[in-house]
Structures are given as C-alpha cells and as structure tokens.
Amino acid sequence: MTQPVEKKGDRFIIPIGPQHPALKEPGHFEFTVDGEMVTDATVRLGYVHRGIEKGVESRNYVQNLYMLERICGICSHTHAMVYAMGVEKLAGVEAPPRAQAIRLIVAELERIHSHMLWLGVAAHEAGFDTLFMYSWRDRETVMDLLEALSGNRVNYSANLLGGVKFDITPDQVKDILEGMAFLEERNRHYLEVVMNDMLLLGRIRGVGTMSKADAERLGAIGPTGRASGVARDVRLDAPYGAYRTFKPVLMLAETGDLEGRFNVRLREIMDSIRLIREAVTALPEGELTTRMPRRIKEGETVSRVEAPRGEAFYFIRSNGSEMPDRIKVRTPTIFNMATVLTLARGHQLADMPMILVGIDPCFSCNDRMVSLKRQGEEAAGGDAVAGPVMTWNEFRKAVMR
C-alpha cells in the first residue's frame, strides 16, 4: 500500500510495497524524488523468505527435489534440473541421453512460457493491455503442452535424480511441433508489434538505458545483461546436458534500454522454438533413468544452468549421508536488482514499474536471507547478548514457536 509521502529534510521519499498494484510480488521500495524525478532508490527484500536453504538440510535428497522445485513456480524446472545435475555429479552418475534431451525440451518450453508471461506483464505495465491479453492467451499453448507432458501446468516435476519422470511419445512430438508452429507465427507478430508500435516505443525506447560497462560492473546477467551487449549465457559458456548437442544462439542487443530487453527476450523465444524442434525430431533412444545411490558420496560441487532470467547456481556439499550438508542457491534476480536501483536515478517516477519489470524480477527466487533484530538488544548494551552471530539453537529459539 502506498503510504503518504514522507518528508525528510528537503527530500520526499515515496514508499511502494510490499503490496502495491504495480508489484505482483511483495517487495518494498523507497524512491527519493525531486518533483517527478527519482534521485535515489532503495529496496527491502525478504517478504517471501521461507528458509528453504536450511530446510533442505533436514530432508533427504529425493524430498529436496520437490522442495527446491518450489523455490520458484515460474522457473521450477530450472531449479529441479540444476539440483539434479549437481547431485548426479556428486554421485558420479550421468542421466541417459534421452533424459537429458527431455530436460532440454522442458527447459526451453519453460523459457517460452516465462518470456511470454513477462511480455504480458511488461506490456501491462506500459498500459498496453491488449498485448497482455494476447500474449497470455497464446501462452496457454505452452501450458497445454507442459500439462500434456507432465500432468501439471506449473511445477512439472519432470526431474528425478538420475533421469526424468516421463517420456515424450510420437503423438506428443506431433502436438509439440504444431504448438511451436503456432507460437512462432504469433511471436513473429509480437516482435513486429513491439518494434513498430509508436505508443509502446515511446515508453520503452531510450528508457532505462544501461551501458555495457555498467552492466558488467553491476553484474547484470541473463537477458537483462544481454540487452546491454554482455555476451554471457551458461548454455554456451559451459554447456551442460543436451546443450552440448543442441546449441542455442546468443541473442544480443546493443541499445541497453527497455526496447533492447523486449527484443532480446522475444528473439530468445524464437530460438527456443528452434531448439525444441531440433530436439524433438532428433530425440535419442534409450532409458529414462539410471540407478542412483540413496546415500551420496562425500564431497562438494557446483552446478550451473541458464534459467529464463539468467544464471542459476547451486553449491551442494554432501557428508556421505542421505541428506545434504549444505545447499547454497544463487538466483539471477538479486544481481539484476542492483541495476534497477542504479537505473532508477534520473528517471521519472512513472517509469519505475517499467524499469523494475524490465529485469523480469522474481522475488521468490530472490529472498535468500533474513535479518533479525533481537528485542532489547540496545537495552542490553551490545555485547551483553551472545554477540552478533547466533548459534542455530539460539536462532531456532528466537524464531520458532
């Protein structure tokens, strides 16, 4: 909810969130404005922090597959895939080629669904609701395909440790190819609309421009970085799984503004369509799963995957038991969030929703941390309490009922 404007000294601070019409997820922003111009911005995250990283330590590897998939409902397959790849690496097994190809197909279908969802939300923020409705109508094609494959529209649960759960039948291949033909035609149309509609261009051309140097300094990744000319894509830089066979094309734009981000994402949809076509027609024969040990050998590993929003990175450490010792998740939005705060300066307040949506933020992926203020900390006088670091037991006592 937007509270009344607060005046501090001679600056006005406008708080937005955590519940606000322009935000689809809870996050809290404070924009310092001079008239209509934003001169500073800060963000407070953590509203959807659930404590998953700690929770996985008391669940076994198979249970964690389902928990980690639910870090984010939009890129759920990515999270499950990057986790499964990491655990497979630790156990020293590799998923069969057919399973890897199916993982790629689901991952690219997910990229299409995520980018089309973004196109709709971004168009909505720009006031172009017609495009929102059309792109979401067409997105249902992808949802139908994912549902036909997996049985669920979101959280497809395609992965198993050591393979995938379902096969793609020749009938489904036909459906996928038909769906792709339809989506290709629709997306060509959207690309034309976005690049030629003067009203939309008025809101996106030259807005939120980020130079390549800035993008690299702030650590922008994924389509946000690629729109500023940062040539980085895990699928190409460190090919994994079936991406060793089916190569994506790097989509870059030089402009660095919102128009560039529309352009990059729409062209990525086209490329995903091509990849899916190639993969379903050349689907390798064979098994869907390999045997996985229940206990994972001691060791640690990292695994990386290109999520729709940029690089997803997992660190997994095993102590030889059925449960992981530590899993660290690093998701793209937190890095791109820094670009929002920097880009906000010098733009009008009305452009803020567009600039925020431009990075395709995903708060549920993002909220990895929570900061605690202990009650009576000041009164106790700093060092009187057990110091700034809590033990796990102290922490449990503080937050658990």
Binding site: P21, G46, Y47, M67, G73, I74, M133, R137, N155
Partner: protein
Amino acid sequence: MATSLLDSITAGLKTWARVNSPWAIHFNSGSCNGCDIEILATLTPRYDLERFGIKLQGSPRHADVLICTGPVTRQAHDRLLRIYEQMPEPKFVVAVGSCALSGGVFEGLYNVIGGIDQVLPVDAYVPGCPPRPEAIIDGVAKLLASLSNPGPKLSTPASGAPAESAPAAEVAEEVV
C-alpha cells in the same frame, strides 16, 4: 415495520450487488509464484474471471475478497494483517494453493508460520499445487453462491482482529 422492511430490502440489495460484482485483491505472503501466475491466468482470455463480475484490483480499501497465496512468512505476517484490516466489512478470504492451506512443502521451515488460517479466518479453501485456474474460479464462485443463500454463517469476525479458529464454509473440490 417500515424500518425492518427497509433494512431487509437494503440488505438484499447489498448481497445482490456483492454477489454480482465482488472486487478482489491478491496478496502473496510467501508463495513460490506458481499460484500467483495461475491467479493472473484466470484473468486472461481463456478463463476470463471478469465474466463473473469479479475484478482484481490493487487497493485493499476497495476489496471484498482477499485472495491469499503461499504460506505466511514471518515478514509478510504483519502486512497480511494490515491489508485485512484495511478492507471494509464484510470481507472474505480465499486461500489458494496447498501452501496457503497448510504450509504445504514449506511446513516447518523456520521462517514459515503456516497456512493462512493461522492468521486470518478463511472462507474458502482451494487445494492444489498450484490449483488450476478452473479450480480457483470454482472456489470463488462457490464462495459467492454461499453468500446469496447463506446456510451456516460464514466466519466474519466483528472487528478486523484475526480470529483464532477459522471454520471453512466451503471447500472447493480440486478440478483435475
């Protein structure tokens, strides 16, 4: 008596208006986004929630129905209460998704309080992870149907304060 007749007519009129054009607000108190995108999908051409007169909009002060997704996290808890308190009476809460029902997969994590009914009185539960858009529409439609022919009284706390117990008026069956 004139006054009671007038009262019953206005009450009937209010229910009629409420059932035919409820305004809803959506709050994510810690969900994974899966339920949120399905709620958004109900607005889009294939499902078109607006044909029931339901409008999703931004301000709690204009809303009749609070659609909640996700388990309640410790950070979002106060915000959720505040939004509920800002809504005018009478108000209804629909919990969407397994997380909102019970905490779902996140049950027991240190930052998760539990389902929505730990915090607010819930009028309709829509199970699923995530529920299909049809199921969400069904849940809201059943809530509306229960308004026009009130059977057992819905749990509407007199003040905005959170009720301890949260009886379910309707449980929408999952449409699979």
